[in-house]
Each structure stands twice: as structure tokens, then as C-alpha cells.
Amino acid sequence: MTHKTVRIGALTRVEGEGALVVHARDGLITTLELRIYEPPRFFEAMLRGRAHTEPPDITARVCGICPVAYQMSACQAIEAACGAEVTGPLRDLRLLLYYGEWIESHALHVYLLHAPDFLGYDSGVAMAADHRDLVERGLELKKAGNELVAAIGGRPIHPVNVRVGGFYRVPSRRELAPAAERLRRARDHALATVAWVAGFDFPDVEHDYRFLALRHPGEYAILSGSIGSGDGRADPAGFAVADWPDHVTEEQVPHSTALHARLDGETGYLTGPLARYALNAARLSPLAREAAAAAGLGPVCRNPYRAIVVRAVEIVHACDEALRLLGGYAEPDRPWVPVEPRPGVGHGASEAPRGTLYHRYRLDEGGLVAEADIVPPTAQNQARIEADLRDLLAPRLGLPEDELALLSEKAIRNHDPCISCSAHFLDFRVSRG
């Protein structure tokens, strides 16, 4: 009888704090726990009693990597609760802001966190010693995203210009011009990135994922839409964002401060780039579609290691679409639409770079938040990541432990987990039970 324990003390090159513990006995995995020990920050509890205008700023602080995602999901949930909707040029401006965050976050992940795994480096900085031009290209790409966010939102992390109903001030064409200039170069970089990462040596793995992503009739959905799910073979099923609580439930596991999610009772679905691509690839911009085809991505990609290629394709899409919107940009005639608070419930979902982010708020008579519920992508993916790891490790338990640890870490990084955001997931009904 042999025992084996693989322990990765602190996961590196992921956002936030996590660890992995695997116990095996007689060649079989008995436990596998992706431990999220990011200290709990209790966002849903803190939001109670705050004004309806506050969640966008407060929830941005859940995650410094994708604050715009939090702001967008929060705004839309509150607007829905108040019966308001942001459309037209203001919605376009939101999209622009969001594309900026996508470019920034994806470039960070691709170049500084993920690519070093394929090229055999400990970090992007170490990689720069041998491939300075590549890392500089990545940084330039990242900067293009950041500058777009800063031009619209004021700063890349926790932008200040987002409000329920729209923006505090809309930027002029002139203010956006430098960002547009930089994006043109970035789009070329993004295309080069797709070609570059497509050439990596990928392990030959496929999982039979059940995908979940936002879908939108006219867009490769980022900002809004309805929820779609499926395996990438049959037509996706769907439900409205407002029906989320009927489909997605969460449960707490003792080993983690993040909660595990189930879709229609089933555990282990996947959200994020592979899911978006599988459900929405046809709506990518033509340039991004071409790049995907050239990179050898079929209509669906089930190899988690290839997520880096999908991310690169999404950068092309984001640059391309951002440039299209910038080209047609005219200052909206008012920076925001009024959103009068009223008692009620509102749901909002958008696609953070690492997957679907859902918010729900109930406002009370005084327009204050009575309940808040946030389901971040990494919490949804946690069970699926654990399943990936089981598949990966089960046949390889004979390998030395440090090798297993390395393999696991790489497999985890495929999903770009943002662990700081996993720490405050709540299904309000469950918590009361």
C-alpha cells in the first residue's frame, strides 16, 4: 500500500492565493483539493446597506485584474433592478472600456503568466532575458489595453469613470485618439501573438467539457446577452440572465473559501475562453476568425492548454472591435441615463476575461442594497479545474512529486484562475439554509 501526497504550497503566476493538495492510495486519487486560502473578504455582506450607486466601485475591489467586469455586471444588475437600460453610444463606450480590459488581462496572462510554461521559464521577466522582443511586444499589447481603459475610465485598475447608468463624463474623440493610435499597432501584435502561441507544443489532451458563456445575437458576447450552455456539438441551450438562480447553484466545500458551482445540478462545467469560443466563435470579427482558422482552431477547442491560443484570438477580436467602435465614435450626448432606485431585484452578467461573472442585487424601499450575490468565474470553474487535474494526475502518479506539482500548476494556469475573486461567492438562499 503506497501513499502519496502532492502539495503545491502556493500557486504561482495566478491571481490570488491558492494551493493544491492531492492524496493518493494504491495508485488511486483519494482526494484532490484545489485549496483557495485567499482570506475571505465578505463583499456580499459589506454591500448590504450601501446606496444603489455604490456596488460598481465597491465590487471593482473584488479583483484588480478585471475590475471593469465587476463594474459592468454590477451596473447592469442594478439598472435591471431599477428598470433602466443603457443602450446605443453609451453601451458602445462600455464595450470599448471592456475591450480594453480584455486586451490588458489577456496580454498579461498570455505573455507574463502562461507562455513561460510553454517555453520553459519561471516568469515573464526571466523569459525577457532570452526573448526581450517578445516580452516587449506583450507589454506593448498590455499597455494598449490599459491605455484604452485609462482613457475612458481614468485609470486601468479600479476605473473611476463608471457609474450606474453610464459614465460620469464621456471622453472626447481627441482624448481617445492616442489610445486608438496605439491599438492599431496592438492589433498587429495580437495577430503575431496568435501565430506565435499557435506554434507552442501542446499536450494532446481533450476534455468533454460542458460550457457556459454569455451569448448575444449580434456580438461575440462580452457585455451582455443571455446565458448559453452546451457541449459544443449540439446547439447550445440557453436561459435569461435573470433565471440564473434557477440554473446555477453553489455549495461550500470545507477546503476552500471559494464555493463550488453546479449547473442544472451538474458539477464541473467550464466558463471562460474555451466556453466562449465554443458557443460563439461564429460571431468573432472576421479578422479574429481568420486568425483562429490559421492557428488551426476548429469550431470548438477542448484542449485546455490551447486556451492560450483562444485568448490570443480574443485579443485580436478585442482590438479589432475596439478599433471599429473608435472609428465610429461620436461623443454620446449625455454621459449617463438616470437610474432611479426602486425596490426590486436585478441580475447582471458579463464575460470577465476568465469567464462569466454574475451579480444579483435586491434593493429595498430606500434604494439601498438589501442583498447582494456575486458568482465569479473562478468559483464556477473550480470543480472543473479539479476534474482536469484528476484526469491529468491519475495515470501519472508514478512520477516524482516535483514533476507532478509542476504539471499540476501548468494545468491550473490554463484556466487563468483569478483566485482573489473566488473568495466571495454567495448564493443567498443557500446561505440562509
Binding site: 504561482t12 473578504r41 455582506a45 466601485d57 465597491i58 473584488v62 482573489s420 461567492f425
Partner: protein
């Protein structure tokens, strides 16, 4: 080469990301300092001791309490970055509530969660050489602090109000011109007066300035139509437990009673 380490406690990662966001300088910095420990960016943490540690996040768990002491031991200089590390951050709002109740709201089995009653800044536990404010900190200021520590000078991080930067940037005051309540006069500069530049009142994300006069500002903001609960909320965000903002919220409550205003 001096060794730099970056540590994370309870936080959103935004402060460390600010470092990675220095796209133009990152490689130059990496040429001047050995980035010896930075879990978010590297999977090969080098051994201590470190010449300069940047610490993000607040202390909220018993383990972190131990870990920060370790970090202090292995660091020649320790600089805290961001509102969580310097003031407890947004999660310090638990200080005004019952943390068990908080946990019960978020988790079905709060007994699985080990957490402290309060979210405290790093300086509450170990000596800190410099505190860089901001939620998140400003990129230029972060570089300034790193370069000041390398050059052995005082970081040029003025503690005066946001208004100074607001005017130097060429904004017109939003409070005067639009009647928009603004915490700029009691908030420390550093962001470049971002919010007023976007037609919005400052919401205090850089924490209290060197000599905040909240009583006078509260009085004026009431005149602009803010209610007591609104005043309390505006101070109770990212620096809620700093002494000046704590007092500012209390002052609002007290003066609200004097005004005979009903609580919401």
C-alpha cells in the same frame, strides 16, 4: 543587485498588478533589482532576505498574522502598498459589523472559515518603513517609491490634498462649479485628481490627507444636500478605519443629530 519581494495578503491583487502595469519601466526595473519573490509573476521564488519588500493586502486571518512577521524578518525595508495594506481596505468594513454575521451571510458553513474580527493594516503588526496609499496606488508613485529606496532618498509622495493636484492638472473644482460633493480637500493627493477630471467628486481612495478638516467639509457637504447616512457611507469605504475618516463619519453622525436629522 538589490533583491525585491512582493507579498500578498487579503486584497484584490490590484496593487501588485500596478507594478506589472509599469509596462515601460518593468524591464528597466528588473535590470536594476532582482525580483526575487513575486508569486503572481514568477514561479521561482528566490530565497530571502530581501532588500525591499512590497506588501499588498491586510491582515485578516491568524495565519497571515504569522506570515507578516516572517516577511518583516526577511525584509531589510518593508513598504506597504495600497489601501488594504495601509488601512485595512474595504474589507475593514467588518470592523463596523459582527464578523460572524458577515461570514454567515456569505458562507453556508461559516465554521469552515477562519478569520479575524478585524481587517488590520500591516503597520498594526510590524514596523513599516513607508506606506504608499491608494486603492490602487498610482503607478508613478509606486515607481517613485522603488526608485527612492534604491537611491536612498525620501520618496516624493506629498501628503497634501487632492485639490493641489486637481488645480495643477487644470480641473475646475466640481464642488464649487457643480455642487458635487468631493472628498478631495480631505484626501491625500497621488492619483492626479482623477475623479474631478472625470466630473466626479473624489471618493477618498487615497485616504486622509495630512491635516483633514472633516467637520468643516461635512458642514459644507450637508449644505450641498448630503444626508447623514450618505456622509457616513462616503467615509466608510476603503479607508474606513483610519483615524481621520473614522472620526469624520462619527462627526457626521453627531452633527446629524444636532441637525435633528432622521436616520435613513
Amino acid at each position: 543587485m538589490p533583491k525585491l519581494a512582493v507579498w500578498k495578503f487579503a486584497s484584490c491583487d490590484g496593487c501588485q498588478l500596478t507594478f506589472l502595469d509599469c509596462e515601460d519601466e518593468l524591464l528597466a526595473v528588473a535590470a536594476r533589482v532582482e525580483i526575487a519573490c513575486f508569486l503572481e509573476a514568477s514561479s521561482a521564488p528566490g530565497p530571502g532576505p530581501y532588500d525591499l519588500s512590497l506588501v499588498e493586502g491586510s491582515i485578516t486571518t491568524p495565519e497571515d498574522l504569522e506570515r507578516i512577521r516572517h516577511v518583516r524578518r526577511v525584509s531589510e525595508r518593508l513598504v506597504t502598498i495600497g489601501a488594504c495594506a495601509t488601512a485595512g481596505g474595504i474589507q475593514a468594513l467588518r470592523d463596523f459589523a459582527d464578523v460572524k454575521e458577515f461570514a454567515a451571510v456569505v458562507y453556508a458553513r461559516p465554521d469552515y472559515i477562519a478569520t479575524l474580527d478585524r481587517s488590520t493594516p500591516i503597520a498594526a503588526h510590524v514596523p513599516v518603513d513607508f506606506e504608499l496609499r491608494g486603492c490602487p496606488p498610482d503607478r508613478r508613485q509606486l515607481l517613485e517609491v522603488i526608485s527612492a529606496f534604491l537611491a536612498g532618498r525620501r520618496p516624493e509622495v506629498p501628503a497634501h490634498s487632492v485639490c493641489v493636484e486637481c488645480k495643477a492638472r487644470g480641473n475646475a473644482c466640481v464642488m464649487v462649479a457643480h455642487g458635487t460633493p468631493c472628498l478631495g480637500p480631505v484626501t491625500q493627493a497621488g492619483c492626479g485628481a482623477l475623479c474631478p477630471a472625470f466630473n466626479r467628486g473624489c471618493y477618498g481612495c487615497f485616504g486622509p490627507m495630512e491635516s483633514p478638516n472633516h467637520a468643516s467639509l461635512n458642514h459644507w457637504m450637508r449644505g450641498l444636500g448630503m444626508s447623514t447616512p450618505e456622509l457616513v457611507r462616503i467615509y466608510r469605504t476603503y479607508h474606513a478605519t483610519t483615524e481621520p475618516f473614522r472620526r469624520a463619519a462619527e462627526e457626521a453622525q453627531r452633527s446629524g443629530e444636532e441637525f435633528g436629522e432622521e436616520e435613513e
